[in-house]
Symmetry: C2
Subunit: 414 residues, 2 copies
């Protein structure tokens, strides 16, 4: 890889060769980061080259990605999700420069497809035939789908609380699914042991440093969609920490390669029922204090975030802010976003929007700022929660008189 | 509209001006068809123009669409769905030239978005602020979502049996949902009366001739994605008849405008539990004989298809074939498609693939033909059916010993 220098430990600074199957630091066990040669990237691609490309997927940014030039990246159509000017939501909030990035429109309906598409390409580079992960749901189904498209076998460990829709989805994709009778931490531990035992390729986002590199394509896209500008703020929901770390890496890479001329502030949104990363940032400490996992937003209910340091560092480096939201605020945001934008997000997917609404109300984000709120997963993933967000339809007998009566009661048309 | 000549009744041949709010034939009540001026289209756009366009949505084909040049088509990102070379499924079936068009990746997760995106643009042209339909399924959610993005109010009439999850989705999009205490026919009648009374814009695919024009963009895309070639066969599931009629119209329009040099054969797939259109084609009669609606594929369970004639005519004109599939074949196709391609379709969405598998086995479609199988809706729309297709995950306590035991039981790794 001409564009990659090495992998570097974020804890002890050790540098190793960026082989396709690296995981954590061989010296200290810390999480690795992929280090690029930005001069090489600059010599390989320009904004004009990018503008001429027809590939709408995340692979349009190949010079910014840690894959071999001859790797076969064909697979599901990951990336290229819309960045909508959120006109009506913006009017409601008094924000004229608000955008929604709907990453729930990825092939398996979440942002996690960006990491999984990367994982299956790196697995193929490593010569692996089997790939495994533990996940609360979206990483699992995205791995299963992306692996199915490439003909790789998958073993996927999910905690027993994973919603039925997500589990059915990954079974349809032909995955070997293990439902672990425990929490996410138990699930993660068992998957790690199994991966060690059988030598499967590891798609655990914090362990495998390439996965954040896939996730960062969401911000490469945002910057390109804004005409190679970074927004003032990027709002994103945070669980394990890999997504916000990836988002930040994307902006830093673009900045280092001269594609954007400033960096955004990150708004890290977690649930009031589980916010270990935000707590550390807000209170200024560096060691993870695990928390309970009490939130409707299952995809970000991570009491022991594996990418704690990268996430905390990202928010701090960006001079960002943290917001914690209640389940009620998440459900309210789901409704507001749906009704004003036609975007239907799952609870974790709209938690970012809930956090933005809260942050703006508190004066933490200026109303005239250019803000991108990332919706990380599709609402169809969790219809039960959607039911909690909304009321009931108007029930009427099949007669116009009855409809008129019912409308009268709610101030409807007559 | 410089590219549109008129609207013409497919029953009596009456021609009327293509105003934005036309419905059925004012003379005989027949269904109308939009008639284009193909010489005008040829003078407006070339294949080369199209290649230079960056808009990935269905509106990239605007010269082929019945909208005013200055209409605001911004909204949800409808269209631009992937056409995947189905390498692994093709190997399984011995078909080297098989493609899957995954239209479940539209914004509200079904092909119906193409019709609803058209509906909201035409509603705006007609000066309407409110748009209405009766439906329990994809048409309803796509209308609600696309209307929310444009700031149009919606009234959606659902029969009381409508599943809570689907109703929740409508409510998230801010629709006024009226749950009618009666069957679908009662619901339809009340909605028709309400639409008449309040002058709402009518989003009923068979009643409003513009909606097939939106749907036809799926085949405009297929042809462009194949390098302006029609495949030999296009396989599609059929319910009300509007989608296959639209698909055929798309190819005919491209052929008439010189963008493709042959027409494909259509493979019309219905459920064994409900196949009134296929029955008429197969037995050679012209008058609808209603059928019961007994299939898991709810989106194509239409015993009284409102676009019967357009659909029957399309299959016949294309010299196409008809295939009926059982629920078991649909569920099997869901699994096969998911596991070989990473595409997750709802039952009606994969019925086409089930029909293709059956048709190829019966020798009705040659194995070396270029075939596109359209997946019309996302599997997340109906996870209950997906659950029937796949069974359960392997449930284990969070211990390696337990995992080994469980694997032993199913012949897994040790």
């Amino acid at each position: 890889m001409k564009n990659v220098k090495c992998a570097k430990c974020i804890k002890c600074g050790a540098e190793i060769e960026a082989k396709p199957d690296i995981t954590t630091c061989p010296t200290c066990g810390g999480i690795m980061d992929i280090v690029y040669d930005y001069e090489a990237i600059k010599s390989m691609v320009t904004k004009e080259d990018m503008a001429a490309r027809k590939d709408p997927t995340m692979w349009r940014f190949k010079e910014f990605l840690p894959v071999e030039a001859d790797s076969d990246t064909a697979g599901l159509k990951v990336g290229g999700s819309p960045l909508y000017p959120a006109k009506r939501l913006g009017e409601k909030l008094g924000m004229p420069n608000l955008y929604i990035k709907d990453d729930g429109l990825n092939p398996t309906s979440s942002l996690k497809d960006r990491a999984s598409a990367m994982a299956v390409v790196k697995a193929a580079e490593a010569g692996a035939k089997t790939i495994a992960c533990s996940s609360t749901g979206n990483a699992a189904s995205s791995l299963a789908g992306n692996a199915a498209a490439k003909g790789l076998e998958t073993y996927i460990f999910v905690p027993e609380r994973a919603p039925a829709g997500k589990v059915a989805q990954l079974l349809v994709f032909g995955a070997n699914v293990i439902s672990v009778q425990g929490n996410y931490e138990d699930t993660f531990r068992l998957s790690a042991e199994a991966i060690d035992r059988w030598g499967w390729y590891n798609r655990n986002a914090a362990i495998n440093p390439y996965l954040s590199e896939g996730k960062k394509t969401v911000t490469l896209e945002i910057a390109e969609q804004l005409g190679w500008k970074a927004p003032d703020y990027v709002v994103i929901s945070v669980g394990d920490g890999c997504t916000i770390a990836g988002a930040w890496k994307g902006f830093k890479d673009l900045y280092a390669a001269g594609f954007i001329d400033k960096l955004p502030k990150l708004v890290s949104v977690q649930a009031e029922g589980c916010y270990p990363i935000n707590k550390a940032v807000a209170e200024g400490y560096d060691t993870l204090v695990p928390m309970e996992e009490n939130t409707i937003a299952d995809s970000i209910a991570v009491g022991v975030p594996r990418n704690f340091k990268k996430a905390v560092d990202a928010v701090r480096e960006s001079k960002g802010i943290t917001v914690n939201v209640s389940d009620e605020e998440i459900l309210e945001a789901m409704k507001v976003l749906g009704a004003t934008s036609g975007v239907f997000g799952e609870p974790a997917g709209v938690a970012g929007t809930a956090g933005l609404i809260k942050a703006v109300a508190a004066g933490l984000v200026p109303k005239d700022a250019t803000v991108v709120s990332v919706v990380t997963g599709n609402g169809l993933k969790d219809i039960v929660s959607a039911g909690k967000a909304v009321g009931k339809p108007l029930a009427v007998p099949p007669k116009m008189d009855a409809l008129l009566d019912a409308f009268k009661g709610i101030g409807g048309p007559q």
